[in-house]
Symmetry: C2
Subunit: 401 residues, 2 copies
């Protein structure tokens, strides 16, 4: 008889994979997955890098590397992070197998079964599943246009003085799925709240490089850069949106004490992240090609966002409300109460368009009052067609009620 652990007994099947498989059906217009379009990857640049590597570096790429990462990549990445104002010299940097692994390792470092963790609601599904895998009790606090609702956060922490959360997990720049970019004011308001509650912050910055305008560029400064002296912050990031998810490379920048534990966990998880892709990423960063690439991507994603926003204004009923994102991959839309989004999704899939329903991103797995559209991996002409399909179904559903 097979007897599973308590930890896996509490895991439920994620909807990501089924949606991803829909997203790759060639006949369907997909706004589902949170990934770059295949046609956008810097294949030419990596070809040139690969073919110019000297033999000894290539051999290194085939070998195990140190647990914290390939040393030249760590150095190059430090320079990249220094440009964001991050305190790279006072903290320790570790390469992880995607930034999901960074969140997962930090989950292991802090969470005992039953521990409380505060997140935004909605929240990145990868973080939900990583933290739940350690049997964390997740409390999602509503996001509004400027960031997490600080009044609700304060009230919650006040009411739960006796069971302080292990940490708070926030995505301040172009939130997945909500698209939110925190205001400087909102970040400032958070400082005394976290201080008073001795609350550690895990700051996920997977999208901060992908801003669409100058005002947004000014606002993407991480809290880890602004409030290093005031707060304890674990900062995570990723190459998935600025190079390629298939490299499986992310990172964490954390205080020494936390780093030491994280490194022990990393050793027991996969020993090191792929040296093969680290060697390539290193040259991509070191040579500065990453900056040309990101700057091209910003323009392309902005054009895709514009196409989607225009199409939504043209084809969606006005009962559907949303905010235009200033960066990142996602538009998050609120439904009027009478619409059943699951039934909408089934119909749009029949007609050739797919997206992700809101409850996927609810830490409690219940709230289906929103849905997420991703414009990152769909060409502009297809975006208009897909939005028209979804808009028509939404209008029909509204008429019925």
């Amino acid at each position: 008889m097979i007897k599973f652990s308590k930890a896996v007994s509490s895991l439920r099947t994620s909807e990501i994979r089924d949606l991803m498989s829909l997203a790759t059906r060639p006949d369907i217009i997909s706004f589902a997955g949170g990934m770059p379009g295949n046609e956008l990857f810097p294949v030419e640049e990596i070809n040139r890098i690969y073919n110019s590597l000297p033999l000894d570096i290539k051999q290194t790429a085939f070998q195990y590397g140190p647990t914290p990462g390939y040393p030249p990549l760590l150095e190059a990445l430090k320079e990249h992070l220094r440009k964001k104002g991050l305190p790279v010299d006072k903290n320790f940097l570790m390469i992880t197998t995607g930034s999901l692994q960074a969140i997962n390792i930090l989950g292991k470092v802090f969470v005992d079964p039953g521990d409380l963790v505060v997140t935004e609601n909605p929240c990145f599904i990868g973080a939900i599943s990583a933290l739940k895998s350690y049997q964390a009790e997740l409390k999602g606090i509503d996001l509004n246009q400027d960031g997490i609702d600080v009044e609700k956060l304060k009230n919650f922490l006040q009411k739960n003085k006796s069971i302080p959360p292990k940490f708070i997990y926030l995505t301040l720049n172009f939130h997945n799925p909500a698209g939110t970019l925190y205001t400087q004011e909102r970040k400032k308001e958070l400082v005394p709240i976290l201080q008073e509650n001795d609350l550690l912050l895990i700051e996920d910055d997977a999208y901060g490089d992908l801003y669409f305008d100058e005002e947004a560029e000014k606002r993407v400064v991480p809290m880890k850069a602004l409030y290093e002296n005031e707060l304890t912050i674990c900062y995570t990031g990723s190459f998935s949106k600025i190079l390629g998810p298939g490299f499986r490379l992310g990172w964490m920048l954390v205080p020494e004490e936390i780093y030491k534990k994280a490194e022990l966990v990393k050793q027991s998880v996969d020993a090191c992240s792929p040296n093969f892709t680290q060697v390539l990423a290193c040259e991509f960063v070191q040579s500065g090609q990453i900056y040309d690439y990101i700057s091209r991507m910003r323009k392309i994603y902005k054009r895709r966002k514009d196409s989607m926003a225009d199409a939504i204004r043209k084809y969606f009923p006005e009962e559907i409300t949303w905010n235009e994102p200033r960066g990142g991959f996602y538009i998050w839309l609120k439904l009027p109460p009478q619409i059943d989004i699951i039934s909408v999704l089934k119909k749009t899939i029949e007609q050739g368009a797919v997206f992700v329903v809101g409850k996927t991103f609810d830490p409690a797995g219940l709230d289906n009052s929103h849905f997420r559209l991703s414009y990152s991996h769909t060409a502009e002409d297809k975006i208009e067609r897909g939005i028209q399909i979804i808009g028509d179904v939404l209008k029909e559903e509204l008429k019925k009620k």
Copy 2:
């Protein structure tokens, strides 16, 4: 105040990393790390594969892949495993980020804090740290020349009827560190013991392809191939020794019920293993180049083993006892009781040679009566010099007593 989880509080610093850093000092002859020599990697083959990939496959390599693995790699790997007699159609195959991740995920699937897990003593250090990270209580049962000591195993299970272990973890082919190749008889003896105790087997076969003679080739048949109908077996393997550890690719072949849980865990850990290296590994297997490569490596590792064995016979005092391995990477040597291996190691490092002390591989972290020499990443001329250094120190130490 930072408050860590109970799980990480129980993790201790591993000695692997320090040893690895010694192993890369250019002036030292290293018998420490368990990796292929850098000069042995199939760099040419992978160059040709990389440069012949069509654009759409390269783009796929940059993208997220399905959680269980890149589908064409899964198909190619199934054919590779079918050749070993493994029941690939009755089980489910998953690509993992190295086979350490496969063991780690299975740890998460089965182990609750305090659960008992049986291993061999000595045991692969990666498995020790992965299982301990789930707060497993490890019981190491002595290995002898033919495999795990079945009498001791039977006695232990008999005495612990009230607290049955969650599983038993075994490496049957060219054990790390002991070099042991199980006899067919020993595998057969295990069957009724595991059946009577309803004991799940995790079979780690990272080295099975690297046999040195025909008799060994006949003996590397996995228990998963021999006893699929009699036992519940989770089989794990790795590309680290037959392509390159820097690819971070391993696998597990497990029954459906276990696979479903393992896939949920994998989703929460790193979403998928690197597609970039999966695409390359796929072509390496599919084209059959892997077989030419493995067959070359067998000859090279055998020559290195022969050089080391000859040098040991020439330079080591006869009080040091050991068995000649018939495959794999390691020679495991027993010391007479009066020798302090830590003090030997310090002296050999001063004089320019390094190895790994036995207690590293003891699940209880105590027994230092052995040491491990790895011949996999050291050229033959250096092997003789390094063994002479160690032999001279051992003789000196023996004389003192």
